[in-house]
Each structure stands twice: as structure tokens, then as C-alpha cells.
């Protein structure tokens, strides 16, 4: 049995029906542990004070914002190559979640920026590339909304996602070239855990896991909705032709 079988709508519905409750529960648990621990049971930073705690929202959402685009890239490719409807619908379902994550990262970052850098917004490369990612999400979602025929929309958004990924990456480099920034470098690689104190590190991991699971749950849910919508329109078509 190959993995692709789950790309069949019926099988996907059956599988996701079983998986969804478990994932949802785990997501809530992960988030609860990470956020409660992070907000109430960690010490204040000696330099940043309590504001450091926004890291438990900021970092996971920023990570998700990027990774969700990656996931859309993969599912788009799968749709173009293997033409599994579920794959295209999963990409469609993921986009608004990615957009929301981007917004959360932007807002938490802005709130954090005020005490840290003395300004809510600066044209720092990292921040700017997030703004760019935001626009890419907007364009992608707008294209889905504008095209009526779902297969056409799937094809066009997929090709946009491919080309967009290339140019989003290029933009990242271009932006780095253009401005030296204020923002933190990558400090959360596993081998360099010393950048972040252990007291923050572990709850942060929980929070990240929570965000990932939350994303999985939401994507499953939204994909199921999209599939149901397609089923409804198929039924209406059949009725019309009868």
C-alpha cells in the first residue's frame, strides 16, 4: 500500500477523522504547557525583564510562518505532478493559517520591538522579509479566491507557489544585501542551545511543538471542509444534470 492512497478524498476523510481528535488534544496540551510554563514559571530576564516572555509566541509563530509556505510548496508540487486533489486542497487550506502565523509573528515582534529597540517598526531585513512573505501569502490567497474552477485554480496557484518560492528566497538575500539589521540572529539551533537559557529553552520547545500540532489540526480540519465543499458542488452538478 502506498502513501498516495491517502490522497484519495474518501481515504483521507476516513483517516483524518480518526487522527484529528488526537492531534487537537495534543496541540492544546502542548500549547498549554508551553505557554503557561513560559508565562508564569520562568524568571524575568536580567536585561529584558518580563518582555522576554513574548518569545513563546513570537518564535514558534515565526517558524511556522516560514515552514507552512514550505509545506504549500511541497503539496503544490504533488498536485502538479500526481494530480491528487487532496494535495491541492491542503495547500489551499494551509495558506490562511500561514498568513495568520505571519501576522502573529509581525505583531508580537512589533510589540517586542518597542521595549527592545525603541520602535515598533524598523526596516530590518528579517522584519522586511516577513512583510514580503505576508504579501506572497496575500497574493496566493487572492488568486485562489479569484478563480472559480477549482482545478484551474489549483494549477495556477501551484505554479505561482513554485515561482513565488524562488523569488521569495531571492528577496531574502536581496533584503540582506540592502540593509544591516537590528534583529536577533538564529539562536535556536539545537547544537547552540547555550544562546537561550535552559529555563526558557524547554518551555519554548513545548510551545513550538504546540504550534506545530495546532497547525496540523487546523490543516486537517480545513482540508476536510474544502473536501466537503467540493463534494457539495459535485452533488449539485449531478442534480442539475439529472
Amino acid at each position: 500500500m502506498s502513501l498516495w492512497e491517502y490522497a484519495n478524498p474518501v481515504r483521507f476523510m476516513r483517516l483524518s477523522d480518526r487522527v484529528l481528535p488526537a492531534v487537537s488534544v495534543l496541540a492544546v496540551v502542548g500549547l498549554a504547557i508551553g505557554l503557561v510554563w513560559g508565562f508564569f514559571f520562568t524568571p524575568d530576564d536580567y536585561k529584558q525583564g518580563a518582555t522576554v516572555k513574548i518569545i513563546f509566541l513570537h518564535v514558534p509563530s515565526a517558524m511556522m510562518a516560514i515552514n507552512i509556505w514550505g509545506m504549500m510548496l511541497v503539496t503544490s508540487l504533488v498536485w502538479l505532478v500526481r494530480r491528487h486533489h487532496v494535495s491541492a486542497l491542503a495547500a489551499k487550506a494551509a495558506a490562511p493559517i500561514g498568513l495568520t502565523m505571519t501576522l502573529i509573528a509581525l505583531f508580537t515582534g512589533a510589540i517586542w520591538g518597542e521595549p527592545m529597540w525603541g520602535t515598533y517598526w524598523a526596516w530590518d531585513p528579517r522584519l522586511t522579509s516577513f512583510m514580503i512573505l505576508f504579501v506572497f501569502y496575500l497574493g496566493y490567497i487572492a488568486l485562489w479566491a479569484a478563480i472559480e474552477d477549482p482545478d484551474t485554480a489549483g494549477d495556477l496557484t501551484s505554479i505561482l507557489c513554485l515561482v513565488g518560492s524562488v523569488f521569495a528566497l531571492l528577496s531574502r538575500y536581496a533584503v540582506n544585501f540592502w540593509s544591516q539589521g537590528l534583529h536577533q540572529g538564529a539562536s535556536l539551533s539545537l547544537d547552540k542551545a547555550q544562546h537561550v537559557d535552559n529555563a526558557f529553552y524547554i518551555p519554548l520547545l513545548f510551545s513550538i511543538a504546540g504550534f506545530i500540532l495546532l497547525f496540523v489540526a487546523l490543516v486537517l480540519l480545513r482540508t476536510r471542509t474544502e473536501i466537503r465543499l467540493r463534494r457539495i458542488s459535485a452533488l449539485l452538478t449531478r442534480e442539475r444534470q439529472a
Partner: protein, 207 residues
């Protein structure tokens, strides 16, 4: 060369419009597609010339042998009649527009901007384009719209000539063209049955 189509299914958007379309046209013959409004003639023609996905079935001729003339003529209103013709002649690599001009008596209109043509004159221009393609299989969608009686006759002649040289024509039309070598295909017989919709989202098991 004959045209053979077997068990073709045609979609428009998500709808299956036709299924099990099978027919053959011998070289030198025309096939008239008949069917009430909305029965799927345009859909079938677009499918045959390769403008839509082909979900099922087989066509024995390559789309490179087919020339298509549709509701929209593809005429550029800012170009003159001559420029319009020359353009298509170049695209199809047949650099001679005289035959086309002569057949529909476009001579007096050659320098006119296509913008300033009447509906029927435009259509004549659009149809004369077929002679430039040099392709053997013509797929025509309501070609006689806006033509007066005289020009319908001229058009029918053009088809007869084309058939006489071993060409094939598939024509969707509501009017009688008076062609000699023509068969008629009633297209409503290919309306898909209820249970043929083949949509993966229609499978059971959704509870």
C-alpha cells in the same frame, strides 16, 4: 487520412458534458454536429483541437493537423484586413494570402482597419483564415453566423473545395449548408448518464 474518435469524454469545469463520443469521418467528407443550444457542440470541438484536458477516450489525429474557427474570430481591430491575413499566413508558414482574399472577395476591404468592418465582413475575414492554415482537418463552430445568403453559398463552396482535396470538416451549425458529402451527427445522444460523472468527490463513504 481519416479522423476517428472513440469513447471521448468532454468536461467543462467540473461538469462532464459529453461521454462516449465515438465517430469517424472519412477523408473528403464533412460531419455536421447537430444538437440544441447547450448540448455540447462547442465543448466537443474545443476538446478535439486540444484546448481542454482530455479526461478519457482517443482521437487518432494529432492536433497539428487541425484548424479551428470559433465564435470569436481572433481578428485584431487595429490592423488592416491585409495585415490580419498576413500575420496568420506567417504563423502557419504559408506565405500566400491571395487564395484566401480571392475566395471571399476581400480585395476591396484589404486596406480597411478590421475595426471598421460589419459583422458579416468580419466573419468572412475570419473564415478566409482557414485557407491560410494549410491544415487538412477543419473544426468549425457556427461558421455562418452573420453571413448573408450569398456568402453562405460561397462558404459552402469553400468547404466543398476543401473536401475535394481530401480534407475533412467537422462543423457545428444550426443552419442547413446544403453540402453534398456530409453526414450528420446528433450530439444529444452523448449526454452522460447520471452515474457517469466520475468525480472523485462523489465516491461513497462520506457518511
Amino acid at each position: 487520412m481519416d479522423l476517428k474518435v472513440s469513447d471521448l469524454g468532454c468536461r467543462r469545469g467540473e461538469d462532464l458534458i459529453l461521454s462516449g463520443v465515438s465517430f469517424g469521418v472519412k477523408a473528403g467528407r464533412a460531419l455536421i454536429l447537430r444538437g440544441p443550444n447547450g448540448s455540447g457542440k462547442t465543448t466537443l470541438l474545443r476538446n478535439l483541437v486540444g484546448l481542454s484536458r482530455r479526461p478519457s477516450g482517443a482521437v487518432n489525429a494529432s492536433t497539428d493537423l487541425m484548424a479551428y474557427a470559433a465564435h470569436a474570430d481572433g481578428i485584431k481591430s487595429q490592423l488592416t484586413v491585409e495585415e490580419n491575413l498576413r500575420f496568420w499566413a506567417q504563423v502557419f508558414g504559408t506565405n500566400d494570402i491571395d487564395a484566401a482574399v480571392e475566395h471571399f472577395s476581400l480585395e476591396p476591404l484589404l486596406r480597411r482597419h478590421a475595426q471598421h468592418l460589419s459583422a458579416g465582413q468580419k466573419r468572412r475575414l475570419g473564415l478566409s483564415r482557414l485557407l491560410l492554415t494549410g491544415r487538412p482537418i477543419w473544426m468549425l463552430d457556427e461558421p455562418t453566423v452573420s453571413l448573408d445568403v450569398e456568402n453562405v453559398k460561397i462558404f459552402a463552396e469553400m468547404i466543398e473545395n476543401h473536401l475535394a482535396t481530401g480534407g475533412i470538416a467537422v462543423i457545428a451549425t444550426h443552419v442547413d449548408l446544403g453540402l453534398k458529402n456530409a453526414d450528420i451527427l446528433e450530439i444529444s445522444q452523448f449526454r452522460p448518464r447520471h452515474d457517469e460523472q466520475q468525480n472523485p468527490f462523489l465516491d461513497g463513504a462520506f457518511s
